[in-house]
Symmetry: C2
Subunit: 327 residues, 2 copies
């Protein structure tokens, strides 16, 4: 798909279709609460725990929707992506469930643990040099050789429709937890989860505020939102490594039309919120998932007295190098 | 209560009464499954996650039963214990909920983090020297001064009846998960959780095998079980620090009468199982809780094809010193 062509904007019907399509391959993840964090924030928090999701992250929703939506003819040639993160794992998992190949282009410098995890889900890795030009060159070659279908980590209507199933499920679960939330907070990187959330909530619960949380050190979405057009940074540095990528055409559509606000947090605030969540909620989650809580803790007055949904996006952490130990 | 008097043996009626008494103060903790661990072990595993329990451990069940079962007259003077672990936290939490004092005698050498956690739940700490004689002396003084009720971490019928509510709840939850398990595996230290499990299951599901899991390096319960009488070790060294204490009269009653078997695991096997659980299940749990999975992994043939319940007993971990980093 070339940037010049206007992309198809997914609708809520696509979310419903995605949900029916992927249900056998995903978990209905639990919603946890914490009286400790309620007391600490003055809000009533509900944590949607996608760290317990298949392949360890919400991204399996979008990846599964893309994989299982392919015609048999297209599927036969497999899928492909370039990613060293949760999208690569998730696409490998989904392709494995369908029994088709998944080609992943990864920098040769990526941690061995990440390569092993992709291979563990059946992904076929082709290494590139750690530069954009090498990645694009190697990826084009892999695609030409295999004819496999490119599934972008977020700038893809099938992926966004898949991510939209998360907040649909969350809102269903809230019916047994005292009714809807007032606000949902989710991290923003490329904007796939936020776009899916906007897509679903703008249709089924348009009164719910949607707030994106972003690291101060990778605040391109924040600056884009304020400026009214996409600003992309080159290689921002943050502990929240899932949130380094920029918005793209399709996610910008949802961010610019439906988002209430973007809040940011410093690296130390993110690390503190991450450690505190592990300590008090006993869950393993990525630094990226701590950004929402970090922004809630530093903007308490905005959330006090409100019912707030927080999306914990993933749990694929390198347990050998935890950020609070890097001192 | 002196050792010379025969202790009251709690009954299943005491478990039912305990459950009614403590329900407002505890979580009904979730049961998690993992297709990864099912594939790895060849068994169907169900994890009862008491790491998500109030105060971070199952021990809040027994402590709450002891605290809320006191007459108003006794309660007024508060409760007391000597412990630097989860029992101290749990008793402090329960006493706080009832609004009565909780006196905890802890060695002055105990980690500041543990003292802070006890104080965080409202416990009043009196420090002793790190020796049994000092602990006993200081504890006797505190009890004499306060008149507070001693609640032993496990050798107490109120505590064991409280712990018995865990497997009752677990078995209720299994009704929605395809029926009862064939085997339950839980860690054994002093034997409080195992005794509660034996008490409940011998009444409501006597066909379920109950297997205790113990560190090789603190295998006093294993040797007691084989010898037919209590063998107590002095200060065993193991990463599973909740499991260092010996059996006592009351827990020996349940271990000797109802337990199917005791299996052991090495330190490295425990650490590996702990890390793997964090990685794959995304839960924070103590080393003690990894002992059951470690014994299942090294005795696969015994568990293959079976439905196995595993009790994850607690999640109060020092996140700054994880055992797989001590190399």
């Amino acid at each position: 798909m070339k940037d010049a062509e206007p992309m198809y904007i997914p609708t809520f019907d696509d979310v419903i279709a995605a949900h029916d399509r992927i249900r056998p391959y995903i978990h209905r993840t639990p919603v946890l609460t914490s009286s400790y964090f309620n007391t600490l924030t003055g809000a009533e928090l509900f944590f949607k725990c996608e760290n317990f999701q298949k392949a360890g992250a919400f991204k399996v929703r979008g990846a599964s929707n893309a994989v299982f939506g392919l015609s048999d003819e297209l599927a036969e040639k497999g899928v492909a992506t370039h990613s060293s993160g949760n999208h690569a794992l998730s696409l490998s998992y989904a392709a494995g469930r369908r029994g088709i190949p998944c080609n992943v282009v990864m920098p040769r410098t990526a941690p061995e643990a990440k390569k092993a995890a992709v291979r563990g889900y059946g992904g076929i890795i082709t290494e590139c040099e750690p530069s954009t030009s090498s990645r694009e060159e190697v990826f084009a070659k892999v695609q030409a050789e295999t004819g496999s279908e490119f599934v972008h980590p977020y700038n893809d209507p099938r992926v966004i429709a898949g991510q939209g199933t998360c907040s649909r499920e969350f809102m269903e679960q809230m019916q047994d937890l005292g009714g809807p939330v007032d606000i949902i907070v989710a991290p923003i990187g490329g904007g796939g989860m936020i776009s899916g959330t906007c897509l679903t909530l703008s249709k089924i619960a348009p009164d719910i505020q949607i707030i994106a949380a972003e690291p101060e050190q990778a605040d391109d979405a924040y600056r884009s939102f304020k400026a009214g057009h996409i600003i992309a940074d080159d290689a921002p540095v943050t502990i929240a490594d899932g949130l380094k990528v920029p918005l793209k055409e399709l996610t910008w559509h949802f961010v610019s039309n439906h988002l209430t606000d973007i809040l940011t947090a410093s690296e130390q605030e993110i690390i503190d919120a991450m450690k505190l969540t592990w300590q008090r909620m006993k869950i393993v989650m990525e630094a990226s998932c701590a950004v929402p809580l970090a922004t809630i803790l530093k903007n308490k007055e905005r959330f006090a007295g409100k019912r707030v949904g927080v999306i914990i996006t993933g749990g694929n952490v390198d347990l050998d190098t935890l950020p609070w130990m890097k001192t």
